[in-house]
Amino acid sequence: MIVDILFSAGMLLAAFLGQTVALPALGVASLAPNLILSVVTCVALLRGPYAGLAAGALTGCVEDVFFSPGVGMAAIPLAVIGFVLGFHSRRFRSENIAAPPVLAFLGHIASDLCALALLYFTRNQAAVTGAVALRCLLSAVFTGGTALPVYLVCFRVYTRGKRGRGEAHLMMAG
């Protein structure tokens, strides 16, 4: 359990650093996957609603401390996505590797819509151009693409020492 928590925290920290430091330094920040969302999605699907909620809320808070005008602007969407995906994780078999990319893609879209709504209500700035929409869509596709390898890594770690992969899902649901 502790190892899982530490692993999840490490993954989230790596995603946070990759998202906020590495990708901008590499010059691909404007069209980059949301690594944090990918990790939160995978943690939620594999570890359940509480883990998803905690991962989303805590990582979002850290992100907000550094980059947002108010704590919660990134944390609320991530927490919602993490909890909802974790809550409904029983609907998906853990061997179904198509689910994480699709759900991460949808989560990215939802996150962007949420951010748009927050901007609209807080600053009355919600001008969405075609280019912005296309960029968000492509980023969502990339997010879905990165969710698959993240999911496989997390799955391998979370199901270590277990018989059969299906047991991990049972453990998560509990």
Binding site: F16, A22, A25, L53, G60, P69, G72, A79
Partner: protein, 325 residues
């Protein structure tokens, strides 16, 4: 019987959401604040070093890949910069050459201002006679430009020689260091007359001139300036020729001197051809001559200054010999 309350996930979710919303409202409505909260400080202080380290590592990776994938671009830029450097080098050399040419022409212009009584034509030296050690040169002005035989040619330093052959587009100049050259000369200080002939230093091979037909009692010392006397008609009067280096008294009641010419014959590029005299120059010359006659010759020409018989003989010889062959 105690009833066990089971915590529903949605309650937890709602609680967290409410907390986050409250936090958002509080932090957002607080606006700009000078000091961070304790929570913000703890999070910032603990994460920012990791972010800094990650940024440095990422920058290193980025630079590595940039160099890896940018080799072709670097090669191309290197070639372009090399070509650009070569072009700038050429332009720099050209500019330096222009500066040097400008300096030379400025000095030539200074000569024309110093002797405004003559009219000049600029010419470039386009050839040196290799067989006779620069004793004749070729210039890029000829009969098409109005050049005539026996016109005097000068540089910024003094007399170079005279035109001996004229072609349509170029001319040949016999320099004063040629053995066949003879120039009527006068010592600037003592006004003693002589004939300057070309010579070459036996030891060093440097171009020198000899001043012949000086009287035994001629007053000359090393360092005296030698000018053209104007006798003979080929060379205008008063143009610097050279400087006395050595004086020799001969037993036949004559003296001669070794003269170092002012003109640097090894670095000839631009010359001036004296094509005539200006009207002002003519008037000045006539006035000067009249003054000379009346004043006894202190400022006059060399012929007027040669009072003794030897000098008169010399002047006669000079008139015959000036110009050489």
């Amino acid at each position: 019987m105690r009833r066990r309350v089971r915590i529903q996930p949605w309650w937890v979710f709602g609680g967290v959401l409410v907390l986050l919303f409250v936090a958002l409202v509080i932090t957002y409505t607080a606006g700009e604040k000078e000091n961070a909260t304790v929570t913000e400080t703890v999070i910032g202080e603990s994460v920012s070093p990791v972010m800094s380290w990650t940024q440095k590592a990422t920058a290193g990776v980025r630079d590595f890949f940039a160099r890896l994938f940018g080799v072709r671009d670097i090669d191309r830029e290197y070639e372009e910069l090399k070509a650009l450097a070569a072009q700038y080098e050429l332009e720099s050399q050209w500019a330096q050459e222009l500066i040097r040419e400008n300096e030379r022409l400025t000095k030539l212009l200074g000569f024309t201002r110093k002797y405004p009584q003559y009219t000049y034509m600029y010419a470039s030296v386009i050839g040196w006679d290799p067989s006779s050690w620069y004793s004749t040169i070729t210039i890029d002005r000829g009969s098409d430009q109005g050049i005539e035989v026996n016109m005097a040619v000068v540089t910024r330093d003094g007399l170079l020689g005279r035109v001996i052959r004229v072609y349509s587009g170029y001319s040949t100049v016999l320099t004063i260091i040629d053995r066949q050259s003879a120039v009527a000369a006068v010592l600037e200080r003592s006004r003693d007359n002589g004939v300057l002939k070309g010579a070459t230093d036996q030891e060093s091979g440097e171009p020198l001139c000899s001043l012949y037909y000086l009287s035994f009692s001629a007053d000359l010392i090393p360092g005296d300036r030698v000018l053209t006397s104007g006798m003979g008609g080929y060379y205008p009067k008063g143009i610097p020729l050279g400087e006395v280096v050595e004086v020799s008294r001969q037993s036949n009641l004559q003296s001669y001197a070794i003269i170092s010419p002012y003109v640097d014959f090894t670095h000839l590029e631009e010359v001036l051809i004296i094509t005539g005299e200006t009207e002002k120059g003519n008037e000045t010359g006539e006035t000067a001559g009249a003054d000379t006659e009346t004043s006894g010759g202190q400022d006059g020409g060399a012929a007027d200054d040669t009072a003794d018989d030897t000098a008169d003989d010399t002047a006669d010889d000079t008139a015959e010999q000036e110009g050489g062959t």
